[in-house]
């Protein structure tokens, strides 16, 4: 063997994997990687994103709270209430934390259209909470359509004057996860990326490319019907839903391959059009969701 020059370390797949695992384990043991704190704030919305997160599978919600992060605040799930809940929010804000926000920020009457608690005897508005917490957060995730751009909470004529998170935190880098609701994988996958490798690569609108890069239309299993010009005339049909108003051709998300609720189905699988819920501008820019008369029927000659 003396005549050969050996690489410094074995390069087999097994050896590389073992090395990475050992490195990760030792980094955790040495305290170089630590479980980060997560503050999950619900603002003006339907709390459907936290419900969607509970629907996560591999990773699931239990894995998230037990192995990925210390969840320090969640209006839907935390046992503490009232003053004690507010104290926990303040205590969490003293440490380093990732801030995840679902729901829009209501601006009307100085935010009084969305009060999330009472602090020092005064109403704490969603607007105040997110302005305060957003300044100090190590990372900010806008979860779901209402947080990314106002969503349904800001639908015309927007009675609560709701806006997306970026409008009240204009200087901050915000990772945006639009969707109504967010698919649990989009949130948990982005969170995993933050913990393991830092900020994921995003498009110019702040959406992680790992989920939001490709048009639904480009991967739709019903695309062959589109290409052949075979179109559904009503919901329930098994062909291309384009003429009923399907927003697949303009919507960038991985629904066709990932699907929902343990990968069992998705809106087009239910014979209904995509309503573009991951697009900025949803819902107004995507309305009407369903139309039976988008195109003229051409009779056979």
């Amino acid at each position: 063997m003396s005549g050969y020059i050996l690489p410094p370390e074995p390069m087999t797949n097994e050896a590389v994997a073992e090395r990475l695992t050992n490195a990760a384990v030792s980094r955790i043991q040495n305290g170089l990687i630590k479980k980060q704190n997560l503050i999950y704030l619900e603002l003006n919305g339907c709390s459907g994103n936290i419900i969607s997160l509970l629907n996560g599978q591999n990773p699931d919600f239990e894995y998230m709270v037990n192995s990925m992060v210390n969840l320090r605040y969640s209006n839907s799930l935390m046992a503490s209430e009232g003053e004690q809940a507010m104290e926990k929010l303040l205590a969490a804000s003293q440490d380093e934390y990732i801030l995840a926000v679902e729901g829009a920020v209501a601006l009307r009457d100085n935010g009084l259209y969305n009060v999330i608690g009472t602090l020092n005897g005064k109403p704490l508005t969603g607007l105040e909470a997110v302005t305060m917490l957003g300044q100090k957060a190590s990372r900010i995730l806008a979860v779901g359509a209402c947080a990314t751009h106002g969503g349904v909470s800001a639908a015309k004529p927007n009675p609560s004057e709701s806006v997306g998170l970026q409008r009240v935190l204009p200087e901050k880098e915000i990772i945006k996860l639009p969707g109504c609701p967010v698919n649990p994988d989009w949130f948990l996958g982005t969170l995993a990326h933050l913990l393991l490798y830092g900020v994921p690569e995003t498009d110019n609108l702040g959406r992680p490319l790992m989920f939001y890069s490709t048009l639904i239309h480009d991967r739709c299993p019903r695309r062959p019907f589109f290409d052949k010009g075979i179109f559904a005339e009503k919901l329930g049909d098994k062909t291309c839903l384009f003429k009923l108003g399907c927003r697949g051709p303009v919507t960038r998300i991985d629904c066709p391959t990932r699907q929902w609720n343990g990968h069992v189905n998705w809106p087009i699988g239910a014979n209904t059009p995509c309503i573009g819920c991951t697009q900025f501008g949803f819902p107004d820019a995507m309305a009407p969701f369903i139309t039976y008369d988008t195109t003229r029927v051409v009779k056979d000659e």
Binding site: I51, L112, K156
Partner: protein, 469 residues
């Protein structure tokens, strides 16, 4: 001893934002205000939109009970368009609705209610601050374990919903005429298989767990009662061949049980942040506007009344009105009723699954009338839900929603009646005013949904929607 005021804000482990202000004198509750703390104005947003869009749009009112709104809006549109869903459409749509009941009841029981009574050691976030934990360690540890196990089961309930509805929350499958999906044997057996797991959990864990809790907190059979007026719009009822599988539209007041009459519903806004020419109106009549500065008011929730009376809605009301529960009306009875109803619903879903015929397409190409009115009234997870709509020029010109939590968490009214939950808290003895565990336990027995409860119709400008295609 003078009066003391307790403010709990936020009341966590509910959907949406709620505050409760309680006045205590000699350790007894002498005054209560429940306050809805968020407002978005869905009815106003719906004006000018395509009527078809109401089905998907109104689901965004609530993340935990979105299918309920797809049910009520579909029923309202069927009424307006003069369409009657065929039985196969009804069966499949109601199966979707069953899945939501199961998901909601399991999550409300374990994630929202259990931490009030059981110390969950596994994670500090799920530990309550009070120290009134009475269940012995072995049982307490078992229920804590089920807290986490239940997450898998409620997830499966939503998975069943998605199999027929496309996704959950905010499904696409429920629509005018029933559903958009057709089943085959593969789907039926998949649902049957998942349903069996869910049913086993309910029967072997969830129901024993709530009885275990009840055994150690027996005073809650005497707390949280209230007026005792009950209302249901009917649930899984009046099938052509199957008859009523659960409960018909009924009310119970001091004069006894009688059929529900929708003309007796009125809504009041004397103490809510809205203004209008009338402080009282029928659901399809009037259009109050939001007014956060209204001096007498304290909540975004309005005050619906039936024959002038506040009415309790929800699982306990349904079980009593269907003669399946006779123990009484209290906070603990409500919590037990929710678990027992989950079992009932699982049974109904099994029956409905046995009725579905493969490959039936119930969808049609629908056309909109120029002018029409419709209403969809149905019981959902938390109780009676109503959507009232009007169409003009093929667009929505009016939308009114009265949700179950609007009934249970209404404000007081001009006749001196309190809201159902407010009245339920009156007279409650508070052991320790610094840790008033009683208040949250009683309020959560109603399963409050403030995302749903706070809505209004406002006359607005016609909304111009953008046509992409």
């Amino acid at each position: 001893m003078s009066k003391q005021k307790i403010i709990i804000n936020p009341l966590t482990r509910i959907s949406g934002f709620m505050e409760v202000d309680v006045t205590v004198e000699k350790n007894n509750v002498v005054d209560v205000k429940t306050k809805g703390n968020m407002f978005r104005g869905f009815e106003q947003m719906l004006v000018g939109r395509s009527p078809f869009d109401a089905v998907y749009f109104t689901q965004r009112i609530c993340g935990i009970c979105s299918a309920a709104h797809s049910m009520a809006s579909s029923l309202a549109l069927e009424d307006a368009l003069g369409i009657e869903a065929v039985e196969q459409g009804r069966y499949l749509r109601d199966i979707i609705h069953c899945c939501e009941f199961l998901q909601n009841h399991i999550r409300h029981t374990y994630q929202y209610t259990v931490p009030d009574f059981v110390k969950i050691e596994q994670n500090p976030l799920f530990q309550s601050d009070h120290d009134d934990f009475r269940i012995p360690k072995t049982a307490s540890d078992r229920i804590s374990k089920h807290y986490f196990e239940s997450l898998t089961i409620s997830r499966l309930a939503h998975q069943m919903l998605a199999v027929l509805g496309g996704k959950a929350p905010h499904n696409h499958g429920v629509f005018i005429g029933g559903v958009t999906t057709q089943v085959n044997a593969d789907i039926v057996v998949k649902l049957a298989s998942i349903l069996k797991q869910v049913t086993q959990f309910i029967e072997q864990k969830m129901i024993p767990d709530v009885y275990e809790i009840a055994a150690y907190y027996p005073e809650y059979y005497r707390l949280g009662g209230g007026y005792g007026n009950l209302l249901t719009f009917g649930a899984f009822d009046q099938y052509k061949e199957l008859g009523t599988l659960y409960v018909d539209p009924l009310v119970s007041m001091s004069r006894g049980v009688e059929p529900f009459d929708e003309t007796k519903i009125k809504e009041k806004i004397d103490y809510s942040w809205y203004r209008s020419t009338d402080e009282e109106y029928k659901p399809d009549e009037t259009m109050p506007e939001p007014d956060r500065g209204k001096k007498t008011s304290y909540s975004w929730v309005k005050a619906p009344r039936y024959d002038g009376k506040p009415m309790e809605v929800g699982p306990l009301a349904r079980l009593i009105l269907s003669n399946e529960y006779t123990n009484g009306i209290s906070a603990m009875d409500r919590t037990l009723a929710r678990a027992l109803e989950a079992q009932k619903i699982a049974g109904i879903m099994k029956t409905l699954l046995g009725q579905v015929v493969p490959g039936v397409d119930v969808q049609k190409k629908y056309t909109l009338p120029n002018e029409a009115e419709g209403r969809g009234l149905t019981d959902t997870t938390r109780g009676a839900l109503g959507h009232w709509l009007k169409i003009k020029g093929k667009k929505l010109s009016f939308y009114q929603i009265i949700t179950p939590s609007t009934w249970d968490f209404s404000t007081k009214d001009d006749q001196g009646y309190r809201g159902i939950a407010e009245e339920a808290l009156m007279g409650t003895p508070i052991q320790n005013v610094d840790q008033p565990a009683e208040v949250g336990r009683i309020l959560r027995s109603f399963d409050p949904c403030m995302s749903c409860a706070t809505h209004v119709f406002v006359p607005g400008k016609k909304v111009k929607t953008i046509q992409v295609f």
